[in-house]
Subunit: 350 residues, 2 copies
């Protein structure tokens, strides 16, 4: 008998790498290429470190209020966490304890099955259609819950507001979670529906649209009742997950939303141009509403392109898994970064 | 059938309150009364928010290196998390999966049984001795792991380095975790033993000694093998828990350790004086090595004192639970704060 036998066995997730190369074009973790803005910088400079000896406000009151106002909700309809991964983990722990199965797409965010294993939740992977879009009717059946990102990852495909409302109408007995990490790059949020469907939770992040991946902030929106349950579970084992400075930074970001929206427009314009140029090179792709595109080439295998781009210090994401092993997920960077990508791909598919 | 039936039932932890009173003397959550120091303030002012669009270094390399050097360890012997509660949660999830029982004291940090419930870990509460100290021989038996704070919370009682080594010698087949949240207020750390006992993990926090409760930083120290297991489990479901700015702030704090140690000396001096003055008022107390004291009065019930102090805007901690329901846990604040406490208690026990 050794202490080693009591250790949990896991397959560590391999996150998009953060290599230290010179002249790197990093298009592998869906980071926003633009900074978080002047107001964030000012909030940091103005921060009085003399209060850091105190625990942060446990529920992030000021930031919750600002986010609630931004989305036209009440403060008690907002839940804050240390990044949307932490928010998702609390939701899985809180909401999907039925004997039935949680439903999510076969191609989707890879942490969903991990949270299920962590919290002993049974699940079923529902296959996407051939074109990688969600078939809403597949979710019209008994379940312990429904979750998917909208737009979906890593496909970028968007489900319409109307289709999501149809899924909600067919699922009144379980919690439905829409993970809107990428919604602000052209999609339509369903946050407005939380006032109608008390079993709906919408998750968003400060990492993408708000250029704050470095600070770890995520939020969930829902009815007052379900949000209070999330807080009860969180408070049962972790009282202060969101730090005081992150709360101030998040607040400054919400107050600077016009600037942030302009950046998102730039990303969308760059996405449109990149798609056109890649199509001219023979690439095929999904209709992405995210800050990344999901592309394949009929002649050159994605895995080969992935490695050859890497040799040129251009890092994209490749998933060696069924159905998508001939695709690359490419983050939309600045126009200059995409020019380097397009130049490289031009040579590689010639 | 309703979605409500699938919700996790919990008893929310009630953290030490953070009331908004004027002229408040807040001695209820063991916060350090002194600020985190000039270097922390400078690090915040110098921080370039332009990198916040990028994910933080997932393993906090620079901070790990600084902490490792501070403790005379290698970098791969340090694990970082978003507060020591998050570090403890990962340790419970990773290390205590045996069929036997995890052992911890009956009077101890209240989150231990919560983590056990969360991760389906069986446990046994081992009674402290009558004087609230740990009887090391009680831990010389089969178990799935051992954990206790040293000094213990909320008693403040310290176990000697030698006694902890004895516990380690009798527990080579399970992981032993020493939670040193309060070790720097007069105790002797057992971090040096991680090179000898590969099943030892020592947990520390930036919240108390380093006056950084607001920033959420905690660390674990151990052998290279066990630390890498903690990272594997963490990486399997949460890639970037520690934000970029918190990493810089932690680094500045480690570089300012002389200033921090001076503050701890001030806290210890105030503790000694407070104990003397309270003894003169008839109070009895444990021999605390933490930044709080654990006191009782033979004539006036603790619960009554707790409420009457609150009426005077002095907040301490009272635990309405067996064995300790006639004690108050009082954080050591500044000398001025303790003077107000002593004045109030003088009236109340008269």
């Amino acid at each position: 008998m050794s202490w080693r036998e009591n250790l949990r066995k896991v397959e560590p997730y391999v996150a998009g790498e953060q290599p230290k190369m010179r002249n790197l074009v990093k298009l592998n973790t869906n980071e926003n290429p633009y900074g978080p803005g002047e107001k964030v910088q000012e909030a940091i400079k103005a921060f009085d470190s003399g209060i850091l000896n105190l625990y942060p406000n446990p529920d992030g009151e000021d930031l919750r209020h600002a986010l609630a106002s931004y989305h036209g909700l009440n403060d008690d309809q907002v839940y804050l966490g240390n990044g949307s991964d932490a928010v998702l983990a609390i939701i899985f722990l809180t909401c999907f304890n039925g004997a039935k199965k949680l439903l999510f797409p076969d191609i989707t965010y890879s942490f969903y099955p991990v949270y299920c294993e962590l919290y002993h939740i049974d699940y079923e992977r529902v296959p996407l259609k051939e074109d990688f879009t969600i078939n809403k009717e597949d979710y019209y059946k008994d379940n312990a819950g429904v979750i998917f990102p909208n737009p979906n990852a890593p496909t970028g495909c968007l489900l319409s507001h109307e289709d999501i409302e149809d899924i909600l109408k067919h699922n009144t007995d379980s919690v439905v979670v829409i993970d809107e990490a990428y919604i602000d790059f052209g999609g339509e949020s369903v946050i407005d529906l939380v006032n109608t469907y008390e079993n709906l939770i919408v998750v968003q992040t400060f990492s993408k649209f708000r250029s704050l991946a470095g600070i770890r902030l995520g939020a969930a929106f829902g009815g007052k009742e379900i949000i209070s349950h999330l807080y009860d579970v969180k408070n049962s084992f972790n009282s202060y997950p969101v730090d005081a400075l992150a709360q101030k930074i998040g607040l400054a970001s919400v107050e600077d939303s016009d600037y942030i929206k302009d950046n998102a427009k730039k990303v969308m314009a760059t996405r449109a141009r990149t798609c056109e140029e890649l199509k001219a090179l023979g690439f095929e792709m999904t209709d992405s509403y995210a800050n990344f595109i999901f592309v394949t080439h009929p002649k050159v295998p994605a895995k080969e392109l992935f490695h050859k781009l890497r040799e040129r210090s251009i890092i994209v994401r490749y998933f060696d898994q069924p159905r998508i092993d001939n695709y690359m997920r490419i983050t939309i960077g600045t126009d200059e970064q995409m020019d380097r990508l397009i130049e490289a791909l031009k040579e590689l598919v010639k």
